[in-house]
Amino acid sequence: MRRGKFWKTESGLAFFFLLPACVFLLLFMFYPIVYVILMSFFKVNKLGDLVGFFGFGNFRFMFDRPEFWQIIVRSCVWTALAVAVKTGIGLVIALLLNVDFRGRKVARGLVIIPWASSVPISAMIWQWTYNNDFGLLNHTLRTLRIFGEPPIWLAEPRSAFFANLWVDIWCGIPFMALVFLAGLQAIPQELYEAAEVDGATPFAKFRFVTLPLLSNVLTVATLLSILWTFNDFNVIYVLTGGGPGTSTDILITYIYKYAFQYLRFGPAAAMAVITFVILLTVSILYARSYFKGGGVY
């Protein structure tokens, strides 16, 4: 085919329309990724310029710091707990919203509110909610006499961690619920009817019809949730800034501190690369499991 004619074919047209998106991706996705990878192997000055090859020096610097390993473990625990709870609650909400009842549309609208509101603003509202003296949560707990003296949520490492975790979960539940709901609605009703004819209990229907047919949706939704939760900067930055001390820092907030507070762009880039490797590994494992199972339902 002559070159001029190619662009008049359907494939040519497809390439033509894809071109702007490709250029955009190259400029705004691949260039920063490649530059960060380069930074991690170079000495970097305070303006982010590469000034000399450093090999694995930036990685060694981070690996030698005991708190770095604590933060890696914390990031993984944070992600695992948050995604597990979001998946569980999201699934329950989706199952409830899938039942036909009066006011279902209103309930669906209400569920989406945390997802629709901006995360930093939600985090700021929760910061006030957690306030010991003026916050709604402790006021309610005191009034209802559930706690004589409720914890000061953001003051202790453990309670601060769980307070952050809950806000992340609160923000993420609507997404999971809506995706699961969409998945549930795609399951043919006849399968449930057939199960009923076979005498299946509601649990058996869930176990042998709903879950298997929802598994691909579950895989995709949890993968996305893992990626977002691992990189959730907003909630922790607004609520505790990684404190008390560094007890609620996860990798992403630690990267920010090194880059923009201490101007150590090299170690920050090394941590960004480590984050990239961790999330890429998780994504590949998920993709393998997804395609093994036959892909999209």
Binding site: N132, A155, Y262, L263
Partner: protein, 410 residues
């Protein structure tokens, strides 16, 4: 159809002409910090008034909360998009000089302006070169409830005795405010450290900073006392590690604190919010047998080398430092005036300004070292570890000093 095309062409040409006209204006941007007490209207009015006085200049004031200011400035610099001017904590200046981004400012502002600033406040002068003009400078002092406390304590030991008497946690009234959550700087510890005759680093004969000294007797003693207030005598608000300085200030304004150590801006806020209780100010307490000392904090305004509107930026500085704008600014932020022409203004003869000025001779500033933000965090983290009972004061400060010395290659 032809009419439609002609119409479109006319619109495009007009837009091009307009944009060319707009391009003729020189743009000056300033990263502006949101001081407590400074209303957003001030920045808007300043911008409008300056543009009216200088029709060829388009001024852009980029307002930023203080606690995000450093990181935002660094993001702009690292992104090679620095503003023309920025308000900075003067302690960041060495970090910026290390990055080689700051322009000597002297030749861009008028002689009148330079002569109108007290030379003692020119902390932005490094090795004889002036890089920053002081925006605000003030010592930190003590606020107390004069309706509950008859006489302000002079020492921290006296403060403890008073605290034991007035602390009523069951009524949500706490004797002493203590912040344990990071907020811009490590001021809380500095109050007790300086009042105990200590400092963060040894000062070498040439004026440079030697090894970290927070683990000496003064440093450990200061932290031990703070920790006793929090954990032994329990006279602070509960959960100190959850409170930033600004949140603590809200607690004092709400009437829940007896004693609060802070800056002049708190007085401005107390007046603006019209609190109903009686309050007063006093010099920062010190430990018995130690000289009175507090921290003096100066903020500066700097010009960046990459600015292509240095002349216009200089014009803005002359405008901003003129009496009508400075007096509004100083009144709102609660710092004593930095310009000589306002020093005798009746407004600045109030007790809060008198105390701030009287403390200046014995006051100490932040260490001017490029690694200070990281040193600051290291000390903070170890103080928090002490409050949480994870470390004793001696171990915490030993760890902090060791880590800081290693960081600075000492």
């Amino acid at each position: 159809m032809r009419r439609w095309i002609v119409g479109c062409v006319v619109v495009v040409v007009m837009m091009l002409l307009l944009s060319a006209f707009a391009g003729a204006q020189k743009k000056v941007s300033i990263l502006w910090m949101e001081y407590d007490g400074l209303t957003p209207d001030y920045a808007l009015n300043l911008e409008k008034a300056f543009e009216e006085a200088n029709p060829g200049v388009d001024l852009e004031i980029i307002s930023t909360p203080w606690d995000l200011g450093h990181d935002r400035l660094i993001s702009l610099l690292a992104g090679k998009e620095p503003p023309d001017l920025a308000v900075i904590g003067t302690r960041w200046l060495l970090e910026l000089l290390d990055m080689d981004v700051v322009e000597p400012i002297e030749k861009w502002v008028s002689k009148d302006l330079l002569n109108n600033i007290d030379p003692a406040l020119m902390e932005g002068k490094v090795k004889g070169v002036l890089y920053g003009l002081p925006v605000a400078a003030g010592t930190r002092l003590m606020y107390y409830r004069s309706d509950i406390i008859d006489k302000a304590p002079e020492t921290f030991e006296e403060m403890l005795q008073i605290a034991l008497k007035i602390h009523k946690p069951e009524e949500k009234f706490y004797a002493v405010g203590m912040s344990g959550k990071k907020y811009v700087e490590l001021t809380e510890y500095a109050y007790y450290l300086f009042g105990n005759g200590g400092y963060f680093f040894e000062i070498l004969p040439d004026g440079s900073y030697g090894k970290c000294t927070v683990n000496d007797e003064a440093g450990v003693g200061a932290l031990a006392f703070m920790n006793d207030l929090v954990n032994k005598y329990k006279v602070t608000q509960p959960g100190v590690t959850a409170y930033r300085r600004d949140e603590l200030q809200d607690l004092f304004i709400a009437g829940n604190l007896g004693i609060f150590l802070s800056g002049g801006f708190t007085a401005a806020l107390l007046e603006q919010r019209g609190v109903t209780f009686k309050w007063d100010v006093a010099p920062m307490p010190h430990f018995e047998g130690k000289p009175q000392s507090t921290i003096i904090i100066t903020d500066s305004i700097v010009l960046f080398k990459d600015s292509d509107a240095k002349e216009e930026a200089g014009k803005f500085l002359d405008f901003f430092y003129s009496d009508p704008w400075r007096i509004q600014f100083d009144k709102m932020v609660g710092f004593p005036p930095v310009t000589k022409s306002l020093a005798n203004d009746p407004f600045f003869q109030k007790p809060v300004y008198k105390v701030m000025i009287e403390q200046i001779p014995n006051a100490k500033g932040w260490p001017l070292i490029p690694e200070w933000p990281e040193c600051n965090d290291i000390i903070w983290d170890n103080i928090v570890a002490t409050f949480l009972g994870e470390k004793d004061p001696k171990t915490a400060m030993d760890d902090a000093a060791r880590e800081i010395d290693a960081l600075r290659g000492m």
